[in-house]
């Protein structure tokens, strides 16, 4: 049981002070980590719906065989823009928003270490995405070469190429600045007593994710800068005709791209590691093993990139190295799954909405993990490459993995942010509707892929019709269900009558739960005195 810390009492009384007045002053010039976190979360939700609407176009076109609604070029635009927007606009900013809101409160810091950089990191993003989306209204339309922007196909576009590349540069700059801020905050701003191995796992997951971002976002920037110079300045890094090598782009891109996958899943691991102990009313099983597993996964992510390109024709030794390296990732991931289940084992479990999302994460992410191990096998990958099996795999990882963790996190922390409880009934309706529809959406895609249906095509053989129809119905159902999510959030923030307590959840532990709900605008302006029992991990009494 966490006792209320006397050191934080002044913040309680100052909770209604120093909030800037005026819309622009509050939101455009804000340097407050909670405001910036809110901006990130609203932005990512908006992008989730824009990217989701593109997915609806894709599923509508694939509802039946034959050309139904859109031209093939527009279909390619939809797949490319859906990927770019969901990865860089929805998932990543959502995790950064959660980090902004929670990290300072979890480590007892007054704010992020570099608040003005924080403001800049966010406000780059809307302009980057406006620029990206504007390409759809240009002559020739938006990017059609997929989110990976492989040359020479990606360079075939018109003026959209420069706009898309510059917008990805801006997204990268935003991510890098956010990552620098997070590392500087965690390493320097922790309250006395919150040592590294006493930090919540969500903080650890973000520390490791931020180092991944620092390491690989400049590599993406380098790769797309070379694309740009190939297109406009006559270089031939990737032009075979000029002595360049298109496969080199794939190597450089995936050196970024595979760690990027972990950038989108490690914070989800952190979130689940917060939710599961709370609703199991037990400490996290194997805290240090969880931290080391995160670090191990991050390290391995740097040495497996070429499993995305087994079919380009690598030497056998290369194929074997990347195959075994990829399979190794199952070990630390298995440690995490084992520890979450063991945390639940013998616990006093209750299944509020955040816990439902966390349990669904553990089960459904494991399905994505199993199909990932299948894809790691070189001989099998030759069959699976560029089929719907791959689409099913990464959507299980990124939707039922990352997106479910984000939704669970919102339900978990929303009472702390807003000071009100959300509707548990509607939260559960949202969960069950999402869980059923998302499986209807993505599970049949495994069968489509195994039967040989290629990805990124607007038309297909009639043999694939039934599973595609089921998948599309699941897609429309899942998309519509997310309107419930928006409704629950709006109701909680503006209309809910049920006040949230300080600790919100019976089993919650950690510094953030010692603050009042809603969390004061300025929290921990004086470092809290951390006493025994306040932290979820580690014993501060010795």
């Amino acid at each position: 049981m966490a006792a209320v810390n006397p050191a934080i009492q002044p913040d309680v009384h100052a909770s209604h002070d120093h909030k800037p007045h005026g819309f622009l002053h509050r939101w455009l010039f804000t340097t407050n980590h909670k405001d910036i976190g809110t901006l990130y979360l609203i932005f990512s939700l908006t992008m989730f719906f824009i990217g989701g609407s593109f997915a609806m176009v894709i599923r509508a076109e694939l509802f039946q065989p034959g050309m139904q609604l859109v031209q093939p070029e527009f279909f390619n635009e939809m797949t490319s823009m859906h990927g770019l927007i969901m990865i860089f606009g929805a998932i990543m900013p959502a995790f950064v928003g959660l980090a902004n809101w929670m990290l300072p409160m979890m480590i007892g810091a007054p704010d992020m270490a570099l608040p003005r950089l924080n403001n800049w990191s966010f406000w780059i993003l809307p302009f980057a995405f406006l620029m990206l989306i504007s390409t759809m209204f240009m002559p020739g339309g938006g990017p059609q070469g997929g989110w990976t922007m492989y040359p020479p196909l990606a360079l075939e576009g018109g003026m959209n190429v420069a706009f898309a590349i510059f917008s990805v540069h801006m997204m990268g700059i935003s991510s890098i600045m956010g990552a620098i801020n997070i590392i500087a905050t965690i390493l320097n701003m922790r309250a006395p007593g919150v040592d590294l191995l006493r930090m919540p796992v969500f903080v650890w997951s973000w520390l490791i994710t931020a180092f991944l971002l620092i390491a690989v976002m400049p590599v993406l920037a380098g790769a797309i800068t070379m694309l740009l110079t190939d297109k406009y300045f006559g270089t031939s890094f990737f032009h075979a005709a000029g002595g360049g090598d298109p496969v080199m782009y794939q190597h450089i891109f995936w050196f970024f791209g595979h760690p990027e996958v972990y950038i989108m899943i490690l914070p989800a691991f952190g979130i689940v590691s917060e939710i599961v102990p709370t609703f199991s009313r037990k400490p996290l099983f194997g805290y240090q093993a969880m931290v080391y597993a995160l670090a191990c996964i991050a390290f391995l992510s740097f040495i497996v990139w070429a499993h995305h390109m087994f079919t380009v024709g690598m030497p056998l030794g290369g194929n074997l190295f990347f195959m075994y390296g990829t399979m190794l990732i199952a070990i630390p991931t298995g440690v995490k799954i084992f520890n979450w289940v063991t945390t639940m084992w013998g616990g006093s479990l209750t299944f509020e909405t955040p816990m439902l999302f966390a349990c669904a994460f553990v089960i459904l992410f494991s399905i994505g993990g199993f199909s990932g191990v299948s894809l790691a096998l070189v001989p099998a990958d030759f069959q699976y490459q560029d089929t719907f099996f791959v689409v099913a795999h990464f959507h299980y990882v990124l939707v039922t993995g990352a997106a479910f963790a984000i939704m669970g996190a919102v339900y978990y922390w929303l009472p702390k942010w807003s000071g009100h409880m959300y509707s548990e009934k509607w939260g559960k309706i949202h969960f069950w509707s999402s869980a059923i529809s998302v499986n209807l959406l993505f599970f049949p895609q495994h069968f489509l892929g195994l039967a040989g249906m290629p990805r990124r095509i607007p038309d297909y053989n009639v043999a694939f019709a039934d599973f595609n129809m089921l998948s599309s119905i699941g897609g429309f159902w899942f998309g519509a269900t997310q309107l419930i999510f928006v409704g629950v959030i709006i109701h909680c923030v503006y209309f809910s009558k049920q006040r949230a307590t300080e600790r919100v959840w019976e089993g919650a532990k950690g510094l953030e739960w010692t603050l009042p709900s809603p969390a004061p605008y300025h929290s921990f302006t004086h470092p809290p005195v951390v006493t025994a029992g306040m932290l979820a991990h580690g014993d501060v009494s010795h």
Partner: protein, 49 residues
């Protein structure tokens, strides 16, 4: 175990402004690392083509 004790040792300054100054130094070092990786990525492209 020695390494574990080192990361657990809390030697950060008490004063919040001193911590912010240390954070700024961390940020500049990381910014340098980012620039170096970007240059290496391009250099790799030049050398490997």
């Amino acid at each position: 175990m020695k390494a574990l004790e080192m990361v657990q040792h809390d030697d950060r300054p008490e004063d919040i402004e001193a911590r912010r100054a240390a954070a700024r130094r961390t940020a500049w070092i990381l910014a340098g690392v980012v620039v170096a990786i970007f240059v290496l990525a391009i250099l790799q492209g030049v050398l490997m083509r």
